[in-house]
């Protein structure tokens, strides 16, 4: 197999492992530098998924936990494209999301926030991008919620997003925020990001044209994964 590497990850766009303002990162961050390596077939391959892996409602969080009614809260469409750094669409890739409900409460046995659980909202969804890298979900706009970083820390409204890409070295988990949320600049987790423009790129923008009149507002969120070298020149590999 001929390795064609992905571009080096630009670590200045990502939070450092150790960020004292996000307290839990302090004991959970490696202190030794990451090992630098040349990519091998182990890094340039990754799992593939097919439509058999999914149910028909998996990308519809308004309906996929329906226990006799719709969930409460602002109905939204979340849509966008998965691209690589070359601007090429990433087709047939798995996108998974999870989130709190409109009260800021997660359906998780470890979440003990006062916000009410919604009997009709599970809070997770998944989908494959189409041949243009396009994806969409229907969901409820999540509420902000408190957490004990500092005594009065609140998470801005956010949706957690997990993406695969075509190789294990493109694997990414992030969080998207919503345009206009006053909690974004105050959040210790957002503040782990060193580059203010990188924060802006995590903010989904309200997209009136994609909204469904009298039904759902839309937000657009594009995701960019690592790009890959094109083989303009063959690499001369060690030993050859």
């Amino acid at each position: 197999m001929k390795p064609a590497e992905f571009y080096m990850r630009d670590r200045t766009l990502h939070p450092p492992a150790h960020h004292p303002g996000y307290k839990t990162s302090v004991p959970r961050s490696p202190r030794m530098p990451l090992l630098t390596m040349h990519q091998t077939p182990s890094e340039i391959t990754g799992p593939t998924f097919g439509h058999n892996d999914f149910g028909p409602l998996d990308n519809d969080l308004i309906s996929n936990f329906n226990h006799g009614g719709d969930p409460v809260g602002e109905r939204i469409i979340l849509h966008g494209r998965v691209l690589d750094e070359n601007g090429r669409p990433v087709p047939n890739t798995l996108v998974e999301i999870w989130q709190a409900n409109a009260s800021g409460r997660y359906r998780h046995k470890k979440d003990i926030y006062l916000g009410a659980l919604d009997p009709n909202f599970g809070g997770c969804g998944r989908t494959l991008t189409d041949s243009d890298g396009y994806y969409y979900f229907r969901t409820i706009k999540p509420g902000p919620y408190p957490w004990l970083n500092y005594v009065n820390s609140w998470r801005p409204r956010h949706i957690h997003v997990s993406v695969f890409g075509t190789s294990f070295s493109q694997r990414l988990i992030t969080q998207l925020y919503f345009e206009g949320d006053p909690l974004i600049p105050l959040c210790p987790i957002v503040q782990t990001i060193p580059d203010p423009e990188a924060v802006q790129r995590l903010i989904a923008v309200m997209d009136l044209n994609a909204s469904v009149p009298m039904d759902c507002l839309a937000y657009k969120f594009d995701i960019v994964l690592r790009g890959r070298r094109s083989t303009l020149f063959e690499n001369r590999l060690e030993g050859n």
Binding site: R9, L13, H14, P15, A17, Y22, T24, S25, V26, P27, R28, S29, P30, R31, M32, L35, T36, M37, H38, Q39, T40, P41, S42, G46, P47, T48, F49, G55, N64, F65, D84, E85, N86, G87, L94, E96, W98, Y106, R107, H108, K109, K110, D111, R126, H160, S162, F168, L172, I173, T174, Q175, I189, V190, I193, D195, E197, V224, G227, G239, N240
Partner: protein, 205 residues
């Protein structure tokens, strides 16, 4: 003014947070929503090879087990073939062998474990041969960007010296952090130390 390159910038990572299970392993979060959760079956029933179980803890800088980790595995089959279209031998992978798995820790003990088959040696760059290994990726609350590492097998010591990743590790005593311990027939233990004494080698893939 110099010309501008028109590359896009990679989306920035954010921690998976404490509730990662809702999205990626909802059964463990306490509710069933999908008919089929992804990643519980790495090898499928029909793949040839030695069936193995790998267990371990992820340990933080204070020595305590991390109880809310999510781990993903990516591996080749027993012949060293990845179930991916870019592996030229992938057509020969047994039906049902995906080579990818996802596990979470026990919320009380922090122990994780998965059943799979022992991978074969895989090609590296050029004429390199990579010793059999599992590629691991872990995320959790407090981990700002997913951590990549590898697990190798103790029986393959003869192959480790030439492995393109292991041979790159400058501090030779750190190589041991990537090698599992055999605890019984087909049973391995692999503890991952996030920080401090015996810190696992994490890789910039």
């Amino acid at each position: 003014m110099v010309q501008k390159l028109d590359y896009l910038k990679e989306t920035t990572s954010q921690t998976a947070g404490p509730y990662v299970h809702i999205g990626l392993a909802p059964g463990a979060a306490g509710f069933s929503i999908f008919e089929r959760e992804l990643g519980w079956d790495i090898a499928g029933p029909d793949a040839p090879g030695e069936r193995i179980r790998v267990e371990g803890l992820v340990i933080d800088g204070t020595g305590a087990p991390v109880k809310d980790v999510l781990l993903e595995v990516w591996q080749a089959d027993a012949n060293g073939v990845y179930a991916h279209p870019e592996d030229p031998r992938s057509a020969g992978v047994a039906p049902g062998f995906r080579g990818w798995g996802r596990v979470i820790t026990n919320f009380d003990t922090g122990l994780w474990g998965f059943d799979t088959i022992r991978p074969g040696a895989t090609p590296g760059r050029g004429r390199d041969v990579q010793a059999p290994h599992l590629n691991l990726w872990l995320v959790a609350r407090g981990i700002n960007i997913g951590l990549n590492t590898r697990m190798y097998f103790p029986e393959d010591a003869a192959l480790h010296g030439a492995d393109p990743v292991l041979r790159t590790i400058e501090q030779r005593d750190r190589v041991a952090t990537l090698i599992a311990t055999k605890t019984g027939p087909g049973a391995y233990r692999f503890d991952i130390r996030l920080q401090g004494q015996g810190e696992t080698v994490f890789i910039d893939v």
